[in-house]
């Protein structure tokens, strides 16, 4: 008895540590060796407390292992790391569990999406969520799948929406308490977007919030006729969560059709907005619309970054948001109060923001049959690429496209179920989504950068400039090291205080994912997807 009891306790402790409880998700700062959610923590700062890799030793980083995906689709996934096991998606919707120290796979879950799944911008997936021993995956044919994290076996698989109507799931789900929350992509197909929560155990829908205000919803008067039925406002990036307020925050996409706004007069709520939803009920607490009546496809699909700042001398719970429309915003995440708004890149569509943060539009900058030149271009001043906030430096870091424009054309448009519903086309010198192997456009056509802003003023503190644009997320650490990449295929460690390059390596493929860091044993690792592979680095251990 006396011998067995400690053993039992030990076994219990082991099995408890293997379970990713909702309490563990609330306190990732207690286990910085892991990466438990898409952005590393509910506040989505993509900031890690790991500090073995420093400003002075980062030059000793070297490759540890490579996972080569059995897929030619774009690798946009952020992996999860739980107690030495890495979980990642292989585009579009396979799931792989592997040893985070060696890269050796434990199992592969092979998912075949419906061949009718048509997605606007690549057959991609951005990652997973975990609760207990269960992984959650959203698929491009709009299903939510629960997998046993130990074996990859399917526990349940439910339809979220009808993929034949253009719905898809692209982002890593958000787990809050006992629910899994996802939103629907498909803003280029005339969908009516929504965010829905599912019981993590059963897959049963718990609540649903329509991101296009329908009859009876507040905000419905911002639509006319039946345009709301095809109003878009898609969701394709993971939201954030404030446990104290019990609010989840989601960035919403463009109204449909993208470039012919004539068929949808009004502000088109809640397109291009951030919405604050009660995590238990899905009830709308507040919304803030960045781009009313969008004419350029300026989705507000960015990561809502939650930070607690000293604001004009008093502590304030804020949300930092560099928007695709070219403005940087600070909102009070409790009240939705607009605190600051300032362009962070060249923009020509707005004369500025009013005292409520509403843009003052410049006349005649919408798409036209002869084409209208607008800054920023269709991909925006930034986009879905994760920014980072470091509480140590107090700086907000933005993957930036500067001096970038498109010419926006408008066409007549007719809705056909499940077909593209665009109403126009933008044209830019810089390729929108994918790296061309050869880059010969001039710097005058735009460039990519990491920009460090002081969030209390919106002022630029430093910039690391790249020749090509960047679709890479940003990671910062407690040792003031910033990791990021770019379309060219370089992966960098920068000094988070100055932007100086500490280390770089060429991975040879477009980086269109966010870096993470984790620890196994005493080694701190950094992982990033580039091209069709995931690369993992750590400090050189041999002299």
């Amino acid at each position: 008895m006396t011998l067995r009891r400690p053993l039992l306790l030990l076994l219990l402790a082991l099995s408890l540590s293997a379970q990713v409880t909702s309490d563990r998700l609330l306190r990732p700062d207690r286990e910085p060796q892991n990466w438990l959610t898409y952005s590393g923590a509910y506040h989505s700062q993509r900031y890690s407390l790991l500090d073995h890799i420093t400003v002075s030793n980062a030059r000793n980083l070297e490759l540890q292992w490579v996972f080569q995906a059995d897929s030619l689709d774009k690798f946009e996934a952020t992996p999860l790391v739980v107690d030495g096991v890495m979980y990642l998606t292989q585009a579009p919707n396979d799931v792989v569990a592997l040893d985070a120290r060696t890269g050796r796979p434990f199992w592969v879950y092979d998912y075949r999406p419906s061949p009718r799944a048509d997605v606007c911008c690549g057959r991609i997936n951005r990652g997973l969520a975990i609760l207990g021993d269960t992984l959650f995956l959203g698929t491009i044919d709009a299903r939510l799948v629960a997998l046993d994290a130990k074996t990859g076996r399917v526990l349940w698989n439910v339809e979220v929406a009808d993929h034949r109507m253009g719905y898809a799931l692209a982002h890593a789900p958000l787990v809050v308490k006992d629910k899994v929350i996802v939103g629907t992509a498909g803003g280029e197909f005339g969908i009516r977007g929504f965010i829905a929560a599912y019981d993590a155990r059963t897959g049963q829908e718990a609540w649903r919030f329509h991101t296009v205000a329908g009859p009876g919803d507040p905000g419905h008067s911002t639509w006319s006729g039946d345009a709301w039925q095809r109003g878009g406002a898609s969701v394709w990036l993971t939201g954030s969560y404030d446990p104290d307020l019990n609010l989840t925050y989601w960035g919403l996409g463009n109204p449909g059709p993208d470039w012919n706004p004539d068929v949808r007069p009004g502000d088109n709520l809640y397109s291009d907005s951030v919405v604050a939803l009660d995590a238990d009920t899905g009830k709308l607490r507040w919304h803030f619309q960045f781009t009313p009546h969008d004419e350029w496809d300026y989705d507000s699909v960015q990561i809502p970054v939650l930070a607690d700042l000293s604001w004009r001398g008093a502590p304030r719970q804020v949300m930092l948001w560099a928007n695709r429309n070219g403005f940087f915003y600070v909102l009070d995440r409790t009240t939705c109060e607009f605190l600051l708004g300032k362009p962070f890149v060249k923009q020509t569509w707005a004369a500025g923001l009013d005292e409520k943060g509403r843009p003052i539009k410049v006349p005649n900058r919408g798409p036209s049959s002869e084409g209208t030149l607008v800054f920023p271009g269709v991909q925006g001043g930034t986009n879905w690429y994760s920014p980072s906030y470091s509480p140590r430096t107090g700086l907000f870091y933005i993957p930036t496209w500067e001096n970038y424009s498109s010419v926006f054309y408008k066409f007549p448009v007719e809705y056909q179920p499940g077909k593209r519903y665009l109403g126009g086309a933008p044209r830019s010198v810089i390729p929108a989504l994918r790296r061309e192997p050869v880059k010969t456009w001039d710097a005058e056509s735009g460039y990519g950068a990491v920009r460090a802003l002081d969030p209390t003023t919106g002022e630029k503190k430093w910039e690391f400039r790249m020749s090509d644009v960047t679709d890479s997320g940003i990671l910062t650490t407690a040792a003031d090291v910033l990791f990021t990449g770019g379309r060219e295929g370089y992966f960098y460690a920068l000094n988070a205080r100055t932007g100086a390059v500490l280390w770089k390596t060429y991975l040879g493929g477009q980086i269109a994912a966010g870096p993470i860091t984790y620890r196994v044993g005493s080694n701190q690792y950094v992982a990033i997807a580039a091209g069709h592979s995931l690369f993992t680095f750590a400090l050189r251990t041999t002299p």
């Binding site: 077909k419 593209r420 010969t440 790249m466």
Partner: protein, 251 residues
């Protein structure tokens, strides 16, 4: 070109192309117009209104890696190209066929009004074009290869290129001038560039890749190294040369 003119031009192209052999058998102007609308709704977002937006998949060339026949294009559009940004496009059979008809019509059908044979003589003789350009394996590589220039450039554009080269030169044909730390000057045509390196074909047609950190100076010239032919060619020479170039539509 304004879109209204462009549409007119595209439709004109389409009409003219009907006379050529590019279209699927039996295609009518109505098919091409319907195809243009479908193309605008489904394809222009990536390919651009005139099919020229993706350098690696310029639809005006009329030649495609996955096959250029009507059947090939039909299959590529309906299946997509796995591992690329090209998705399967779900259209009915007849709609797909109309899109194919439109894509075929994008190929510049203009052939010019001069004498192509005389034009070739101008190109090879007094124009000295082959000292920089290459046509079907003959000539230098310092300027753009002209083998299929007639498929992708209009008469107007080619004329302006010959008369005002610096105003029409495309970014992909820029010349560079680099000075190394030890003072050597390198000139050539920029082939590729990133934050830390630049790749070029130098004046001796060597492929060079330079680290920017090794350079004292790097200038991307926005002017064209090509002289204007305004005063070098007679109007008849110019017309003949343009006719020759317009008929360079690939192998």
């Amino acid at each position: 070109m304004p879109a209204a003119n462009r549409t007119a031009a595209v439709l004109l192209l389409a009409v003219t192309a009907l006379a050529g052999q590019n279209l699927p058998a039996g295609a009518t102007i109505n098919d091409v117009e319907a195809g243009a609308r479908l193309f605008r709704a489904n394809c222009a977002i990536c390919h651009g209104l005139d099919g020229s937006a993706l350098p690696a998949a310029d639809l005006r060339r009329g030649q495609f890696r996955r096959g250029s026949t009507t059947d090939d294009l039909f299959r590529t559009i309906s299946n997509g190209i796995p591992g690329t940004a090209m998705p399967p496009i779900s259209l009915t059979g007849s709609q797909l066929w109309q899109v194919v008809a439109f894509v075929h019509s994008l190929r510049n059908p203009a052939t010019g009004a001069g004498d192509a044979q005389r034009g070739q003589a101008v190109l090879e003789g007094k124009g000295q074009c082959l000292s920089c350009h290459r046509v079907q394996g003959r000539g230098a590589r310092l300027g753009p290869d002209l083998t299929d220039i007639g498929a992708v450039r209009s008469l107007d554009y080619l004329r302006r290129s010959l008369l005002q080269p610096s105003e029409t030169i495309l970014a992909q044909n820029r010349s560079v001038r680099a000075v190394t730390r030890d003072g050597a000057t390198i000139t050539g045509r920029r082939l590729n560039e990133d934050t830390h390196t630049i790749q070029l074909l130098d004046s001796q047609e060597r492929l060079l890749s330079l680290l920017k950190s090794d350079l004292r100076e790097l200038t991307i010239l926005t002017t064209s190294p090509m002289p204007s032919y305004q005063d070098k060619l007679t109007p008849q020479d110019l017309s003949d040369l343009l006719t020759y170039l317009l008929n360079r539509k690939g192998q």
